[in-house]
């Protein structure tokens, strides 16, 4: 009989354990929904309060934002970006009662986890965000308009923050409440290997598209792979040269409208078709590495760093890396326009960080974001480690970098883009699923000769219309 008693005991414990999980889960869910509704009711009150603070004193103080007791901030960041981690460490050095508990994941994992993490029981105070439309639609992000007023972020150029504004329904983007901040502002263009460039007699950077075509032909004739680009797996890296060509053949405005889901916007335009055909000419001429469809981003970087190609289409988040790994051997130029003296355009996006709607230390997170943009030491770290423009008020100086370094070149190019108003968001960000579902398979098929340029644009536009309508 003793065996039976043991069995009954085991069964009883198991049943209790299962039952305990149930009610607790229900209580947790009820608490979260209660807090969420309270926050939404409270937002209007908060805006009024911050507005009052803004009028009364110049900016919120550290004490008012983070308090005097020890605080542990929850951070959820992207792997491979030491910039933000260094910034949090500097913040703790300056304000010792604030500690950070940081979790890091790859961008694809962040994309898939974002809704669950933000709606969970311990949401991050500061989180690297993928495309925001869906998260705004599900009311998972804190409306930052109150902080915008309190910290006078209207001093920052409005175009910096345009892509992280969205209507409360999630789309269109480009205007409406502010849902995130940019910690720095990346810039894309063309990096080239100076050693290989010297081999083919390249003395100046190309200033027109025709000159770039000639350069690629020269490299091919000399037996050098003209462009090493990633296009494998789930990442269609040919979008970088494609979007650069689109902005060469047409103005960046309509492209931004499409990315921001403005009603009636379309990617299927004659100038975009011309751009896609130009890319196809490059593919057919063999200017890309033959195995691009099997090359992922780290492999592309590795190939370029080992002299496997003359050019890559990439962004200044790699500037610091190049300065370390290939010092003095890498040059940068913006995509040249059609005609000499024409305007330049480039993909330039904020590295978006947001605050969960139910975050416990939202005020302190907002104070941190303002600190990143305005504190001199923070800006120095941002540029040195992040390699990108730190944003913020244009009257604050951009910290000096070593002349001739890749970072110096990309920062100078950033000034050109700002002056010529040529900043675009990435076409991969138009909807949550357009990159993985439409763009990547289409450019992979284009590369393999299984799709026509017109087919790429019509397929992507059809997927875009479907996804925008269903709220993705």
């Amino acid at each position: 009989m003793s065996k039976m008693r043991i069995l009954l005991a085991v069964w009883g414990v198991a049943a209790l354990a299962v039952a305990a999980g149930g009610p607790r889960g229900a209580v947790r869910a009820a608490t979260v929904s209660a807090i969420t509704s309270w926050v939404h009711q409270g937002t209007t009150a908060e805006v009024a309060a911050f507005g009052a603070i803004g009028r009364a004193s110049s900016l919120p103080t550290f004490q008012s934002a983070c308090g005097t007791k020890p605080v542990t901030m929850e951070g959820y960041f992207e792997t491979g970006f030491p910039d933000i981690v260094d910034l949090t460490q500097e913040f703790t050095r300056q304000y010792p009662n604030v500690k950070w508990h940081i979790r890091e994941d790859q961008f694809a994992i962040i994309t898939q986890n974002a809704p669950l993490t933000l709606s969970g029981p311990n949401p991050p105070d500061l989180m690297r965000l993928p495309q925001v439309s869906g998260l705004v639609h599900d009311r998972l992000l804190k409306n930052l308009d109150g902080y915008f007023k309190a910290y006078h972020w209207d001093r920052f150029p409005s175009s910096q923050l345009a892509s992280i504004r969205a209507a409360p329904s999630g789309r269109p983007r480009g205007s409406g409440p502010l849902w995130a901040m940019g910690v720095n502002f990346s810039l894309t263009g063309v990096f080239y290997n100076k050693t290989l460039a010297a081999k083919i007699g390249m003395t100046t950077v190309p200033t027109t598209l025709a000159q770039l075509d000639a350069l690629l032909a020269k490299a091919k004739a000399a037996g050098i792979t003209p462009i090493v680009q990633f296009n494998g797996g789930a990442t269609g890296g040919l979008l970088f040269p494609l979007q650069q060509l689109m902005a060469v053949y047409g103005p960046p405005g309509p492209i931004n409208d499409w990315i921001f889901d403005k009603p009636g916007a379309t990617i299927d335009t004659p100038s975009n078709l011309a751009a896609t055909e130009h890319l196809q000419r490059w593919i057919k001429a063999g200017y890309f590495n033959a195995d691009a469809n099997a090359t992922d981003y780290p492999t592309m970087m590795s190939k370029f760093e080992h002299g496997g190609g003359l050019l890559i289409f990439d962004g200044d988040w790699e500037s610091g890396n190049f300065d370390k790994v290939m010092p003095g051997k890498v040059g940068f130029f913006l995509m040249p326009p059609l005609h000499a003296g024409g305007k330049h355009a480039a993909m330039s996006a904020p590295l978006t960080y947001g605050i969960a709607a139910t975050a416990k230390h939202a005020d302190c997170a907002a104070f941190f974001l303002n600190w990143v943009a305005t504190n001199p030491t923070a800006r120095k770290i941002n540029v040195a480690v992040g390699g990108s423009n730190p944003g913020g008020p244009p009257d604050l100086p951009i910290p000096a970098v070593k002349p001739g370094s890749v970072t110096a070149q990309t920062l100078a190019a950033g000034k050109v883009i700002a002056r010529e108003n040529g900043a675009m968001d990435f076409i991969a960000n138009a909807t949550g699923a357009i990159y993985a579902q439409a763009w990547t398979p289409e450019v992979q098929k284009l590369f393999a000769g299984r799709e026509t340029p017109a087919g790429v644009l019509t397929t992507v536009q059809a997927a875009y219309v479907k996804q925008v309508a269903s709220g993705q």
Binding site: M1, K3, M4, L7, L8, V10, W11, A14, A15, V18, T111, Q112, P115, L116, S119, G134, H137, D138, L140, G232, G233, A234, A290, D291, A292, N293, A294, T295, G432, A433, A436, Q437, T440, P441, E442, Q444, K445, F447, A448, R450, Q467, S470, G471, Q472
Partner: protein, 317 residues
């Protein structure tokens, strides 16, 4: 199984007939109850981690849901989409194509290897070969996928070997080429599953009564005739298990495809497991993902049940 003491008296002859049969009934019920108690903890875990999510998936498949906002009822629309959207239909086709590689190669090659090992190899060599062949089963699928993606890359071992024997013109990025990506993924799966089938079939062969082989030889059968008439029928159940396991692995493949190609290039290697993951977590279409999962489960059952029936049918004869 030890005999436990019960409260019923042992000497039934001392009781009336009625009370004896009642005591017997109590004893039988007691044994049955004990059996249930042994099973209940495992059954509870199974119910919680398998049956409950299964029921939830059925439920989700009837709604349009993005995982956070309130769900909208949509009935069987998700299932209609699964069978009408060409992208999703091609995904199911890819799963069936993988069966050729995940199932066909391990079973056929496994039979050949097992026959050779049993007939020709000395005992120690056979044991060593068995261990080596089974190792892929022990390697985590993620590690296998990463290693194979290096082997199959443009500068990988496969291309190096081909160039060395003069087939340099055939070399390519096997996992990045539209025509060869799915077969390449299939080869990775075949490598993983070959050892399992070989060991299973070898064990099965050792169970076949040697007298049958003697009888066949006396009747004048050659090696091939022996194989077809004695070995294959004797291995019916093992082949059944092998085919079942490998077909399930083919239809539910995820790890290998995720690591090596992520479903690319284009959608050439997109399989149902990966599509469900993408639909649920990137497209935030939990309802459609659940519908695809239900369809996949039904397909697996449709494939496996006939195999089970076929390979079990003759086992009593």
């Amino acid at each position: 199984m030890t005999q436990t003491t019960t409260s019923a008296p042992r000497d039934y002859r001392a009781l009336s007939r009625e009370s004896a049969s009642r005591a017997l009934q109590v004893r039988v019920r007691d044994v049955r109850l004990r059996g249930w108690l042994y099973v209940l903890p495992a059954l509870a875990a199974y119910g919680l981690f398998v049956l409950w999510p299964l029921i939830q998936t059925f439920k989700y498949s009837l709604y349009l849901w993005d995982g956070v906002a309130p769900p909208q009822w949509t009935g069987l629309d998700n299932f209609k989409t699964v069978f009408s959207d060409p992208d999703l239909v091609s995904v199911l086709e890819h799963a069936f194509e993988l069966i050729i590689f995940f199932s066909g190669i391990p079973v056929v090659l496994g039979l050949a290897v097992a026959t050779v090992m049993q007939r020709l190899a000395p005992r120690r060599l056979s044991a060593a070969a068995r261990t080596v062949l089974f190792l892929p089963q022990v390697v985590p699928l993620v590690a296998a996928g990463i290693a194979w993606s290096w082997v199959l890359s443009t500068s990988g071992v496969v291309n190096q070997a081909l160039s060395a024997i003069g087939f340099g013109g055939v070399t390519r990025a096997w996992l990045g080429d539209f025509g060869t990506a799915l077969p390449a993924v299939g080869m990775i799966g075949a490598w993983v599953l070959l050892g399992l089938c070989t060991v299973l079939l070898l064990t099965g062969m050792s169970k076949i009564d040697p007298a049958l082989y003697e009888a066949a030889q006396l009747d004048g059968a050659g090696a091939v005739r022996e194989f077809v008439a004695v070995t294959l029928p004797g291995l019916r159940q093992e082949i059944g298990v092998c085919v079942t396991v490998t077909v399930i692995a083919a239809l539910s493949a995820f790890d290998i495809v995720y690591i090596s190609t992520r479903g690319g290039p284009g959608n050439a290697t997109m399989v149902p497991g990966l599509m469900i993951y993408q639909l649920a977590f990137f497209n935030r279409e939990v309802g459609l993902a659940s519908a695809l999962a239900v369809v996949l489960m039904v397909l697996v059952l449709v494939c496996i049940l006939p195999i089970q029936w076929l390979t079990r049918k003759g086992s009593d004869s």
